[in-house]
Amino acid sequence: MLNRSRLVAILIAALCAFGASLDAVSVSRAQPGGQQSQPPQAPAPRATGAAPIVKPQSQLGPFSPAGPPPSQSPFFTENVPPLIVLDPAHGGTDSGAHSSSGINESDIVLEYARLMRVALEAEGLRVILTREGDQNPSFDDRAALANASRRAIFVSLHVSTTGTPGTVRAYSLPALPAPQSFPVPALNLPPPVAQPNPHPGLRDWNHAQEPYLDLSRKLAELVQVQLSQRFRGSPDTPTAVAIRQLRTIAAPAIAVEVSSVSVPNRGQLEDMSSPLAQAVAKAVADFLSAYTGASPGASQ
């Protein structure tokens, strides 16, 4: 009798668990879209000496980024080998741009990143990928990989839905608006004043890219020069766009987008992978030697 009641209890528990899983399925189906975050990877321990980044747990309100100016930042002063963080965008349930012929952006950019890693390692650089397979880390999980390093360069890889097929564009965030260009309130209100940083020496996670805007633009320029030489029809200069992924990166950060998934066959995009990898590797090597005075392989 005891065994039987125990058995019934187990069955009821199993039914409850089954019902709970059904509820979870229905909730996830009811909220389509949005980035599906995988369980966060264990963040790499932050090296000592780097300006810490505050990831606000609550809305503290934005404040001016603090920390050393870029020219004195660890990126220039630390004698550590640079780390190139390659970010194949999307992944997992988010396939990104996709075509009717079955081309998925998330698959293509992963192939690009793998080949680019080989090209960058051939330049003597350390490389990590924000995802190695079909996962979809959140924006912040991807940023954390770069922000945990004292000397990172972040390159996010994308394939667009539109644009002239065979062209490639490099992007960085736009420069900040000059304070005086901010509209003056018409109702005799005082002009907006930037709040002092309540945590001196720390940077706001949400504005982590701000001190690196100039460096990012320079990196994008070098990359775009290489791209325009290899991919006919690509613009000569990079474009400044507010890209969410780049905003929280405390390092020189750019995005590279290939046009497009609308090509008739996947082979056309795959053929671009080698020159794309070479272009980015060459530009990153040029960037490191031009703006940090160190050749990539020297610090190994």
Partner: protein, 255 residues
């Protein structure tokens, strides 16, 4: 006897399990139907909301003038191109902005030149005294804009450039999706800040000057074109070592 009791016990357990599985299957399909019904109800609610703003927006001060609209270029879909069309536009800047955005969606000269999804609609637009426009779009703007940096950038630029060319009092734009601030438009372009709407150097011919704020910003871009910039909110002074804002390439040329 013991064996018989054991078999009976397992038979009872298996029967209960089978019943539970059957119940579970029914529940699963019931939930699926419920989820799809909920989705349909949401779509219907959005469509009914859309029906109101889709009706032509008219005011007594409407005056038919040539408006500068920005759609994809007829030759290359990598850039925007200005197109002049005749539009009845209100003297009220907020209503005029609504009319322009609605025209961007509904009066595209060629479907291939579309920048905003056909199903998207402007639910509401608020214009604040400091020149900040808050445009609240339906979900379709986020779900049906083609994913990609270029396509999302072109979508935002077509709104920003059209407002800049036709409504002098708008200084910056905030885009909401169904009343909510969202991280991105379709996975890439950041919607958490404001987009700078710079007025052209000269208004298009025949475009009356609207009532504006007492303070006009100095034009920051050469050639009367608009540069899409994204501002943090609220703005912070540039960090030391960061160069001053620099004009990039003209927006209509490469956006």
């Amino acid at each position: 006897m013991k064996m018989t009791f054991g078999w009976r016990r397992w038979l009872v357990a298996a029967s209960i399990l089978a019943v539970l599985v059957v119940i579970g299957i029914f529940m699963f399909f019931g939930l699926r139907q419920r989820v799809s019904r909920l989705g349909q109800e949401e779509r219907n609610a959005e469509q009914s909301e859309r029906a109101v703003p889709r009706a032509a927006i008219t005011t007594p001060t409407d005056q038919t003038i040539q408006a500068h609209m920005f759609w994809l270029s007829a030759t290359t879909h990598d850039t925007l191109e200005p197109v002049d069309i005749e539009l009845p536009l209100s003297a009220d800047p907020a209503i005029r902005a609504k009319q322009l955005i609605q025209a961007l969606i509904t009066q595209v000269p060629d479907p291939a030149r579309r920048t905003l999804p056909a199903d998207a609609s402007l639910l509401q637009l608020y214009l604040m005294p400091d020149g900040t426009a808050v445009a609240d779009f339906s979900d379709a703007l986020a779900t049906e804009t083609p994913s990609g940096i270029l396509s999302e950038q072109l979508a935002v630029n077509s709104i920003v450039n059209t407002l800049a060319a036709n409504v002098a009092s708008i200084r910056r734009l905030k885009i909401l999706i169904h009343g909510q601030e969202t991280q991105t438009l379709a996975g890439h372009v950041d919607l958490t800040g404001f987009f700078t709407v710079s007025a052209p150097l000269s208004a298009p011919a025949g475009l009356p000057i609207l009532p504006t704020n007492p303070t006009r910003l100095p034009p920051t871009t050469p050639g009367g074109v608009t540069i899409l910039k994204h501002e943090s909110a609220p703005p912070t002074p540039p960090a030391s070592g960061v160069s001053a804002p620099k004009p990039a390439q003209p927006a209509p040329k490469n956006r």
